[in-house]
C-alpha cells in the first residue's frame, strides 16, 4: 500500500474553493503520519493550473492539473473516471471535501475502486493500516466512529472542520490528460447559477446571517443582506419556513433537510429554533439569536440572545458592525 494521499481540489467557475485547501490540509495530516506525499488533483478549463501554488502553499507536494474546455462546468462523470484511473498509480487514501460537489464525486470514485466511503468527517486519525473518522449522524445527535479497513480509503471532510493551514511544499505541477472524452459525458451540466446575492456562500463563509419567518416578508431580507455586507465575510442562510414560501432559494436552507454548517459565527434573526433547524447549525462556534419571544427555543443554544424586534435591531447592529470594522 502506498503512503501517498490524493486530495480533490474543488474549483468552481475557474476559482479554487476554500474546501480545496481544507482537503489538502486534511490529506497532509494523514500523509505526515504515514511518511507519504500529498498530491492535489485539480480540474478546470484551461488556465486552472494557475492555482497550483496555493495548493502547494497548503501542503501539496505535487499538483496534478487536468485541464479541458468541458471542465468549465462541473463534469462529475469525467472527473470521477479520471480520479479513479489516477488512483491506480497507488494511493493509500483519497480525501474530498464534503461539499455538494465533493459528495457527488467521492462515492462515484469509491464504487469504481470497489471500496466504501466515509462521508462528512469532522475529525480523522490515521495509522499505517487504516483511517478512523468521526462522522455526525442522526441529524447531528450522534457521533459515529467509523474505521475504513479498505484500501484505498475514501473520505469526505466536512467544510469548516479542517481549517486550511499554510505548510509550504513544492506544489510541483504535473499535467494529466482526462480519461475518455469529457465532452461526451452522459451527465451534462448546462448552467451554474448563483442564487445568493451575497458574494460568499454557505459552504465557505466564516459568518452566516440567517433569517426566519420573524422577518415578516421577503423584502426584509435586505436587512439580513446588509448585515452580511457589513461583516464582509458573511453568507445569508434561511429556515425552511422561508424557503417554502419562496422568500429565498432552497439552496439557502439550513437544517436537517437543508445544508449543515458550522461557521465561527451564526446570527439567527427571527428564527424560532425548531429542532430541524438546529440540526443544521448547532455546531456553529458562536451563536447569536434575535427573537421577540424570550421563550423561543433558539435562546436555549444561543451564546448571546437579544429579545426584541428583529426589524428594529438589525439596522442598529449593521451600523455598529460597520463601525467596529472601520475602527479595526
Amino acid at each position: 500500500m502506498s503512503n501517498n494521499v490524493l486530495a480533490f481540489a474543488e474549483s468552481r467557475g475557474g476559482d479554487l474553493r476554500r474546501a480545496a485547501l481544507e482537503a489538502v490540509t486534511a490529506a497532509r495530516a494523514i500523509a505526515d503520519v504515514r511518511g507519504g506525499a500529498v498530491h492535489a488533483i485539480l480540474f478546470g478549463a484551461p488556465g486552472i493550473g494557475a492555482h497550483a501554488p496555493r495548493l502547494g502553499a497548503h501542503g501539496a507536494d505535487s499538483v496534478i492539473v487536468v485541464e479541458h474546455a468541458a471542465f468549465a462546468q462541473n463534469n462529475p462523470e469525467a472527473v470521477a473516471a479520471t480520479i479513479a484511473a489516477h488512483m491506480g498509480r497507488g494511493y493509500g487514501a483519497l480525501i474530498c471535501p464534503a461539499s455538494a460537489t465533493g459528495k457527488d464525486i467521492a462515492p462515484r470514485v469509491a464504487a469504481k475502486l470497489q471500496v466504501p466511503v466515509a462521508s462528512d468527517a469532522v475529525a480523522m486519525t490515521a495509522n499505517a493500516a487504516s483511517i478512523t473518522v468521526t462522522h455526525p449522524g442522526y441529524t447531528g445527535k450522534i457521533l459515529q466512529t467509523l474505521t475504513l479497513t479498505a484500501t484505498p480509503a475514501v473520505v469526505s471532510v466536512r467544510p469548516g472542520s479542517f481549517l486550511p493551514k499554510e505548510n509550504a511544499k513544492a506544489g510541483a505541477v504535473e499535467v494529466l490528460a482526462p480519461v475518455g472524452d469529457p465532452a461526451a459525458s452522459r451527465v451534462k451540466v448546462t448552467e451554474t447559477a448563483t442564487g445568493n446575492t451575497a458574494k460568499l456562500d454557505l459552504g465557505e463563509a466564516p459568518v452566516i446571517i440567517s433569517g426566519g419567518r420573524g422577518l415578516k416578508e421577503a423584502a426584509n431580507f435586505t436587512l439580513v443582506e446588509e448585515l452580511a455586507a457589513a461583516f464582509g465575510n458573511a453568507a445569508v442562510g434561511a429556515t425552511r419556513a422561508v424557503t417554502d414560501d419562496g422568500w429565498r432559494p432552497h439552496a439557502d436552507q439550513i437544517g436537517q433537510t437543508g445544508r449543515l454548517v458550522s461557521p465561527d459565527l451564526y446570527i439567527a434573526c427571527g428564527i424560532s429554533g425548531a429542532i430541524q433547524h438546529l440540526a443544521g447549525m448547532r455546531t456553529s462556534k458562536t451563536i447569536v439569536a434575535i427573537n421577540k419571544d424570550k421563550e423561543a427555543p433558539i435562546f436555549k443554544i444561543a451564546d448571546y440572545g437579544i429579545v426584541g424586534d428583529v426589524l428594529e435591531i438589525l439596522p442598529v447592529l449593521t451600523a455598529a458592525v460597520k463601525q467596529a470594522k472601520a475602527s479595526g
Partner: protein, 250 residues
Amino acid sequence: MKIAVCIKRVPDMDVRFKIAPSGTAVDESGLKFDISDFDGYAVEAALQIREKLNAGEVVVISLGPDVVQETLRKAMSMGADRAVQLKAETIPADSYAIATALAAELQGGGYDLILFGRMSIDTAHGATGAMTAELLGLPVVNAISKLEFDGGTAKMRRELEGAYELVECALPAVVTIDEGIARPRYPSLKGIMAAKKKPLEIRPAQLAEPRLVLDAMALPPERSAGRIIGEGSAVVPELVRLLKEEAKVL
C-alpha cells in the same frame, strides 16, 4: 416509465437518542420508525411522474430485517405498486456493501429511472445511490430539487452551496432526490387498505463483506446553556463588545 425507489427505514429524529449497551447502535426502545425524509420525497416524485404520464409502475425496494416491510407497506399505501424486501438480519455500516446488494436486485429489472434519497437521515453518508449507479454502469445525478422530462432526457436542478446547477441526462439513469421536489402525500384510508393486498416479494440480500466498520457511537458534547444578554436595540453595543472581546469573531 418503470421506476424503482430505494427506501430506508429510519427512526424519527425528533427525540433524544440513547446509545444501546453495545455502544454501536442506538437504543431502539420507544423509537418510532418511518421512511427516511429524502426517500419520502423520492416516492412522491415517482408517484407524480406515474400520475402525469398516466402509465408506468413504481416499485419500492428496502434492504433490512422484516421490520422494513412496514416501511414498504407505507410507501405502497402512498401509491407504489409493489415492493421488494432484500432481507438481511444485520446490515453493515458499509454503503458499498448495501449498494452491491441493491445493484444485484436492480440489474436487469428494466427500470427507466431509479430514485434514491440524497442521503439517509440517520447514517447520512449520501453514498448509496451514486455507488449503485456506478455498479450498474448507469449515469447518476445527485441531490436534485427539480425533475422534468423532455422525451427520453431528464432535466434537473441540483443545489450547491449558495448556487445551483442545471443538469441533463438521458434515461435510463439513477437520480438522488433532495428536498424541494415535492412534499410526500399522506396515505389515504383507501390507500392503506389497498396496500395490504399489493405484492411484497422477499429475497435474501447479497451483501458484500463490510470494510467500513462502526467502532462506536457517542452523544456529542452539550452546548453550554444559552444566555439572554438583554432586550431591544439598546443592547447592540454590548453584543458587539462580546463578539469582539469574548467570542473574538469581529
